[in-house]
């Protein structure tokens, strides 16, 4: 499992890698919605369509030995870091092939071998844990950095402020990546937050804060890489605000009807996959036809992965009684 995950991670460094992975994330998220609609799994799920560039940019910039704490909207981040579509879908539909054997579910994906600690379903909870990973690196001089990925909603939670403060006073090698998708659950950011740019909050902790185009995977990769480099050179933490958008509602049952008319269309015109495709075509790396073929291949692979996941056994009921204590 580890070998395949690492290979997939390495693919992000190839010219087509980021495009392929973003296309895969999109296909997986769409398929997950389908699986819920078809009743293969009950409960809820939180899709990240539209935010693929942040997930892939973070993974492309991070080393395998770095750690990422991320949120319940974490399917894309898990895939970007190297987990396979079968492992992610399998976890969500509760099968033994899932990355947590079907015991974690949609909100708790995990893959420590590629730096993914169990994803956090309480808003803001992952930030101090990333701070702890960074403190460990500072103590043992391992050069391993930590990245906390969280949403704009988390920027109003106490743990955000405690974490930025701790990281700043100790100058820890941690990068705070805020996915500002404009909505905290069902509430537009202007109704919950007094600043236009969350990156401004970095000033309160005397650390660098930057606004980044979260729809451009190259821009995300560059910004995270620079922040990681600074972190590893004892330059302390950075807050990066990725301006992005979630195409779906907050969760499975939310159609997102609170969004103003035309807003989704406006963001679809800045779709991260389309932007990356444009770059590849303009730079002569690939033709539109080649990219279309890649997307078709990936869609077929995801369908196959979903079929394989569904065909896998469910965990034995007794599994839920173990793993509580060591």
């Amino acid at each position: 499992m580890t070998g395949e995950r690492r290979e997939r991670r390495a693919q992000l460094a190839t010219p087509l890698g980021p495009f392929e992975r973003m296309a895969e994330i999109r296909a997986v998220e769409e398929h997950i919605q389908l699986l819920f609609n078809e009743g293969h799994v009950r409960g809820s799920t939180h899709l990240s369509n539209g935010q693929e560039a942040v997930a892939v940019g973070v993974a492309a910039a991070a080393r395998l030995t770095d750690v990422v704490t991320c949120t319940y909207r974490g399917h894309g981040q898990a895939l970007a870091l190297g987990l396979t579509a079968k492992e992610v879908i399998g976890e969500i539909v509760g099968r033994t092939v899932g990355c947590a054997g079907g015991l974690g579910g949609s909100m708790h994906l995990v893959g420590p071998d590629v730096g993914l600690w169990p994803t956090f379903a309480i808003v803001g909870a992952g930030l101090p844990v990333a701070v702890g990973a960074a403190l460990a690196s500072q103590v043992n001089r391992s050069g391993r950095a930590a990245i906390a990925v969280f949403g704009d909603g988390a920027a109003n939670i106490g743990a955000f402020h405690e974490s930025l403060n701790l990281a700043a006073i100790w100058q820890l090698p941690v990068v705070f990546v805020c996915e500002n998708n404009l909505y905290g659950e069902y509430t537009r950011i202007q109704l919950s937050t007094p600043v236009s740019d969350l990156a401004d909050r970095a000033a309160g902790y005397a650390i660098p804060g930057l606004v980044v185009d979260g729809q451009d995977v190259a821009a995300v990769t560059a910004a995270v890489s620079e922040a990681l480099e600074r972190a590893r050179a004892d330059g302390g933490p950075t807050l990066l605000e990725m301006k992005t958008y979630r195409y779906s509602g907050h969760s499975k049952s939310d159609p997102g009807s609170y969004r103003p008319a035309g807003e989704l269309d406006q963001w679809l015109r800045r779709d991260p996959i389309t932007i990356e495709a444009g770059r590849l075509i303009d730079g002569g790396t690939a033709t539109a036809e080649q990219l279309a073929a890649v997307s078709s291949r990936i869609a077929a692979e995801v369908r196959r992965a979903a079929a394989d996941a569904l065909a896998a056994p469910q965990p034995a009921v007794a599994e839920m009684l173990i793993h509580v204590h060591g």
Binding site: V67, T69, A100, G101, L103, G104, H108, V110, P112, W117, P118, F120, A121, I122, A125, L127, P128, V129, A130, V131, G132, A133, A134, L135, A136, S137, V139, R144, A146, G158, A159, E162, S163, N165, L166, I169, I322, H323, V324, H325, G326
Partner: protein, 327 residues
Amino acid sequence: MTTLTLSKALNEGLRKALENDPKVLIMGEDVGKLGGVFRVTDGLQKDFGEARVVDTPLAESGIVGTAIGLALRGYRPICEIQFDGFVFPAFDQIVCQLAKMRYRSLGKLSLPVVIRIPFGGGIGAVEHHSESPEALFAHTPGLRVVSCGDPADAFAMIQQSVNSDDPVIFFEPKRRYWDKAEVDVAEGLAAALPLDRARVLVPGSDVTVLTYGPMVRTCAEAAVAAAQDGRSLEVIDLRSLAPLDTATIVESVRKTGRCVVVHEAVVTGGLGAEIAARITQECFYQLEAPVLRVGAYTTPYPPSRLEEHYLPDLDRVLDAVDRTFGY
């Protein structure tokens, strides 16, 4: 053997833990330069350095979250929560993250974090500084919850907690910090009672008295007083509140047929309720009386002038013992 206060015994235990494993770290508010408000970590930063005994800002959620990150990176952090009531800002990190990450990772991730909490009242320290929130944590799967009642246990149990691969919530009986007893600090842990076992502190035959933490001494005194009335109390220091050592409890109650559970915490929904339920289930045919509970009233912790009326004491324990003979 050395005579140590409970506070100093904890300090010696922590010192051993730091000496024995370079991965052990201590962190918390004023634990370094000050040595903690109760001086439990006194001198440790001076001897082990600022990287191993870390002064933090006032940020309990941040402290416990940071400890989780350290643990996932191979460290064995010990967090001090300065007072019982200060643990609530860290509740999410403890209950939603620390307790459950092993489960979420199919047992692959261990979180050897110890959270030390001075708890209970009796020092005139009012609300937020006198509380007994142990049942909240004992109710949470994935945590081990323990409490020491005397200096010797304090010395051994803190080291055993650091060695545990599960997270441990370690409740220290605040008002007993200054109690003194003989402790063999040269003694290793091999002969120590395992962390998850209760101890029969005073053997007896008429009534089983189950307790832990600050009420251990009170119940031992009750046994002496009861003996003068010709009643033989068997006092058991539970030590481990999650998991409970049900076998030791059941063995005693089957023998005595009567049981009183004593804790400082509010009776409603407290550990006494869980213990009473287990005893009823396991000892139903041996019981001569219902299991009685002695604890605090279902009110917030009162101002210091009312504290002595609020906290269980020798008289309330003896009264409950008497009542078990009224059925």
